[in-house]
């Protein structure tokens, strides 16, 4: 549906990425300044890259070689910038009607149809300044949908909203996208939001596309070290493959060996190859002594909580292992995230020494490219 390939270089920054979007929500995920907004603006025709091409539903919007660069007016994109950019001197009705043409009664009918979609019929006469942030976002969505765009471009649309409004609008955006079947590019740097909305997740860093795929896959199997960082993997070690067998791989990490049986083993790993060993902090389990026999299959390590960080809903525990270490140069080896109720139930404030189970399937390996 939408095919994007853009290249642009200027002082200290290089944007170079290509994407294909069908009737889905593709989330562009990454830090601020990674080039996400610039990519959206290129599709909208508000920024002209040096090279590349952008094709929407068979129409060439931009092609540097052929010298094609359609103005924003001719692109049929629904663009919602950060901060919504509602027209402050126009009512909600006139904002939504801005891109519509035709007889007044026909425009009126369409505007109210759109306002019904976003649940704002009663506020048609208000000015944007009189609306809450969530309501403003709804107006911006209705206004963008009014022109029957062939792609929806949403630039961090929810980042300024309070949590309940944010969750509500995430649902609304997904419902609208399903209803219209419109290809949607959604920019965010919020991981939970990205996971909820994405049909596919594209991790962008410093102008480059690191990885694109189903969100769960990107979450559990980041393809590059930087993607692992961005996806919130807290335990990342330098390791070396020591054994490859039917039952999985044995990896040397620090002074220990870990068994890894990743769902998708990176092809061609051989003993001696350097890898990044990733274990998500939520996937490490604390094992009660009477249940030890059930975890016999896992990597079992003994450790002590040296410090912890309480995030309210969950805590991160910093474990220092007894015996051989994984990270001999730090004061802790593993970060383990536990929900608040588990922290309470297991009396972690008093019981500080635990056996940890690291499921071999939760050990993800990233080949270290170029390194020997």
């Amino acid at each position: 549906m939408l095919e994007v390939e853009v290249r642009h270089v200027w002082a200290g920054f290089r944007l170079e990425l290509s994407l294909n979007i069908s009737r889905e929500i593709l989330v562009l995920f990454g830090r601020s300044g990674a080039g996400k907004t610039l990519t959206l603006r290129a599709v909208a025709g508000l920024f002209r890259p040096e090279a590349g091409h952008i094709v929407l539903g068979g129409r060439v919007l931009f092609d540097s070689k052929a010298g094609v660069n359609l103005p924003p007016q001719a692109r049929r994109v629904g663009y919602v910038p950060q901060g919504y950019a509602l027209f402050p001197h126009l009512s909600v009705f006139d904002n939504v009607a801005y891109g519509l043409r035709g007889k007044p009664e026909e425009v009126r009918r369409q505007v109210f149809e759109l306002l019904d979609l976003v649940g704002l019929r009663e506020l048609a006469d208000r000015r944007p300044q009189q609306l809450s942030g969530g309501q403003q976002q709804r107006v911006a969505l209705a206004r963008a949908l009014a022109v029957r765009p062939e792609v929806l471009l949403l630039d961090e649309p929810l980042s300024a909203l309070d949590v309940p409004t944010r969750l509500e609008l995430q649902g609304l955006i997904r419902d609208l996208q399903r209803q219209f079947g419109i290809p949607t590019l959604f920019v965010t740097h919020n991981l939970a939001e990205a996971m909820f909305l994405a049909d596919r997740l594209a991790v962008v860093d410093r102008g480059r596309l690191l990885q694109v795929g189903p969100p769960k896959e990107v979450l559990n199997r980041p393809a590059q070290l930087e993607a692992a960082h961005l996806m919130g993997v807290r335990n990342i070690f330098h390791g070396r493959v020591s054994l490859v067998s039917e039952g999985g791989l044995r990896v040397r990490v620090g002074e220990r060996d870990l068994l890894a049986r990743p769902a998708a083993t990176p092809a061609g790993l051989r003993p001696g190859d350097p890898v990044w060993v990733c274990v998500r902090a939520e996937r490490i389990a604390l094992v009660l002594p009477e249940r030890l026999h059930r975890a016999a299959d896992a990597n079992l390590v003994l450790g002590e909580i040296t410090r912890e960080a309480d995030y309210g809903l969950a805590s991160v525990l910093y474990f220092r292992l007894t015996g051989p270490r994984l990270s001999p140069n730090r004061d802790y080896d593993l970060e383990v995230e536990v929900p608040a109720y588990v922290h309470e139930r297991l009396r972690l404030d008093r019981v500080r020494t635990w056996t940890l189970a690291v499921d071999p399937e939760a050990v993800h390996l990233i080949p270290q490219a170029g390194a020997v």
Binding site: L46, Y79, P81, A85, R143, V147
Partner: protein, 218 residues
């Protein structure tokens, strides 16, 4: 009492402000949104009349538009000479008040978020429509403020007008010049009346324009 200077001043200031409004909006927009070489120089040049003594400004205009200059000769041939006519007064007061108009317009346009215009474009509206429905209304208050200032400045212009249009009673004698003339003639009483009327008129026109602005903004 001779009402001619009142009528002439009102006409001259209105015409000058009308000219300035058109030119000021165009130039203010170009300075705010345009990216062209010499933009800063152009901005400086349009501000110069504000800092020059009005007589110096008048001198330049006299040289540029007088009977011996090409422009002056062309205007003569067309039958619309400027120097020592009421039209000269319009040009002189317009040039003297232009900086106030341009600067206000430029600031007003710079205050409009370009993102609003960009979104309007993605919604399919042409550049002209975007300007008319987004840029201009949002810059309206600032433009109106500039209009008020420029009108007041044009109404009160003395030096440049005197240099270019002269002091011909019944033909080019504006109110400000009539005040000077009357004081020179020792008629302080009449001068006081003129001054009072001019002051009242200025305040009233400022009030009227303010009220208009409030209605536009609502």
């Amino acid at each position: 009492m001779d009402w001619f200077p009142f009528v002439l001043s009102a006409q001259v200031a209105t015409l000058a402000t009308g000219l300035n409004l058109v030119a000021g909006v165009a130039l203010g927009w170009a300075l705010a949104r345009g990216r062209f070489p010499g933009r800063d120089l152009l901005a400086a040049l349009t501000t110069v009349p504000l800092v020059l003594p009005p007589t110096v400004l008048g001198y330049y205009l006299l040289v540029a538009l007088g009977r011996t200059s090409p422009i002056g000769q062309a205007l003569d041939a067309l039958g619309v000479p400027l120097v020592f006519t009421w039209r000269g007064a319009v040009v002189a007061s317009a040039v003297a008040s232009f900086p106030l108009m341009v600067q206000s317009c430029r600031a007003a346009f710079e205050g409009v978020d370009p993102e609003l215009e960009q979104v309007a474009r993605t919604l399919g509206r042409s550049e002209l429509e975007v300007f008319r429905t987004i840029t201009l209304p949002l810059a309206g208050r600032g433009i109106l403020a500039g209009t008020v200032l420029a009108f007041a400045r044009a109404l009160g212009d003395f030096g440049a007008t005197l240099m270019v249009a002269g002091n011909i009673p019944g033909r080019t004698q504006t109110l400000a010049i009539a005040v000077y003339d009357t004081v020179q003639a020792g008629n302080l009483g009449l001068a006081g009346v003129l001054v009072a009327v001019l002051t009242a008129f200025s305040i009233l026109s400022l009030l009227a324009i303010q009220r208009l602005g409030r209605r536009l903004a609502a």
